[in-house]
């Protein structure tokens, strides 16, 4: 099925126009302090948040307050995040269901147990876990909202494509015709060479899901306007869970040759003492590398684009805008490539690890 050149051209034009609007959506200059802080712009876009900041109107932020869902000692408590009134410094107290809550830097604490110095002293890695002072936070945050959006998009795309195969036997046209080469690509170039002809079918749903979920999430992070701008794959917990799934699948599909190679590698005895710890550590570093690779690539891309747009505000001159927007356009096109590439590499390495686990003896 050939895609018409006019269609491709109009998609390209649309994409370029969308990406060149990145600069107009960077309106979060803080008028109070007067000085533009690029770190604040970047942190606002890259970190997760309980509300969806859409725009600023006359210095007044317009946000979509997403639901806050907490598991407290009094049970499940839900309220809208607008009750925090855009406060991230622990001052506004929300009382609900017998508990008082404050929010500091997007972490929700019990109001009576919140201690600013203690929070600042805990390392960044330990901060999400201070569970004596915090309720369990199951809120729909920006990232969760974007993930649901991705799920809806994928269900729509694949649902419509599947309908075509139910109705007729000929080669697909339209949406199904667009999707079919991608699925065949995952099957012929990722699954079969790495897992093998006889065993790949069990793992195809996993590989297809990983590929398209990561790809669409990457793309959603690049589109600068609501409802699309949530940063999902740049969230290290998200990539950690994806890598964890791949890890669990490899552990549970390992056959005796796989475990034999790890715990009893076919090397002379003196080398075996060295190889066994290396193999065991290697079992854990491979998913760890998957996690960090995806997270760092996507976050780095977002930070670059945000910094280039922030250049306009740092120099406070409209003369910088043509240069900056040109750079942003170029980086955005590169980020499109990186979005697809990182999805491909993640899926390829997942297939590789699964293939190693189910490999027969030679």
């Amino acid at each position: 099925m050939r895609i018409a050149p006019q269609f491709l051209r109009s998609i390209l034009l649309f994409g370029l126009i969308v990406f060149s609007f990145q600069a107009t959506f960077a309106q979060e200059i803080e008028e109070e302090s007067g000085k533009f802080d690029p770190k604040e712009l970047i942190n606002g876009h890259v970190w997760d948040a309980h509300e969806f900041h859409i725009a600023d109107w006359n210095g007044h932020p317009i946000t979509l307050g997403l639901p806050v869902i907490l598991w407290t000692d009094n049970g499940l408590t839900t309220f809208s995040s607008t009750r925090f009134q855009h406060d991230n410094s622990g001052e506004v107290v929300v009382e609900e269901n017998g508990n008082k809550f404050v929010r500091y830097k997007e972490h929700i604490f019990y109001a009576d147990k919140f201690d600013k110095e203690k929070f600042e002293e805990t390392s960044t890695l330990a901060r999400p876990f201070m569970y004596e002072d915090r309720p369990l936070d199951f809120s729909i945050t920006k990232a969760v909202f974007s993930m649901f959006l991705t799920v809806v998009i994928l269900l729509l795309i694949f649902g419509f494509s599947a309908r075509h195969y139910k109705k007729n036997k000929r080669a697909p046209r339209g949406l199904a015709g667009f999707i079919e080469p991608l699925i065949l690509f995952v099957r012929n170039d990722i699954a079969i060479p790495n897992i093998g002809e006889n065993k790949y079918q069990k793992y195809m749903p996993l590989l297809l899901t990983i590929f398209f979920f990561i790809w669409v999430n990457n793309l959603i992070g690049l589109i600068p306007f609501f409802p699309f701008s949530g940063n999902v794959t740049g969230n290290i917990i998200f990539t950690m869970i994806m890598a964890l799934f791949v890890f669990i699948v490899t552990i549970f599909s390992g056959n005796k040759y796989y475990w034999g190679h790890i715990l009893n590698p076919p090397v002379p005895a003196p080398l075996k003492v060295l190889m066994i710890p290396i193999e065991i550590v290697g079992m854990f570093t491979k998913p760890f590398a998957l996690m960090v690779r995806l997270f760092a690539n996507i976050t780095a891309g977002h930070i670059i684009i945000l910094s280039l747009v922030g250049l306009i505000f740092i120099f406070e001159s409209a003369m910088v805008s043509p240069v900056s927007i040109l750079f942003v356009l170029f980086m955005s096109v590169l980020e499109l490539l990186v979005a697809a590439l990182q999805a491909y590499v993640f899926t390829l390495l997942a297939a590789l690890f699964i293939g190693q686990a189910v490999e027969e003896a030679h």
Binding site: L125, A289, V292, R293, F295, A296, L341
Partner: protein, 67 residues
Amino acid sequence: MTGTLAAIGAGLAVIGAGFGIGKIGGAAMDAMARQPEAAGKIQTAMIIAAALVEGVALFAVVVALIA
């Protein structure tokens, strides 16, 4: 001071990445010049290797960000 050191560390990591990916690209160009029919496969392999090398460099950037 830690901020500056972190930035310097990230810069060093990027030097390594640039070197590695440059070498991969160079080898790919040589191979494609020798055998133009295999250009498609070589290109795919080059992209994969470049993504892996970039992953390693981004480890260092992540550590620099944490610091």
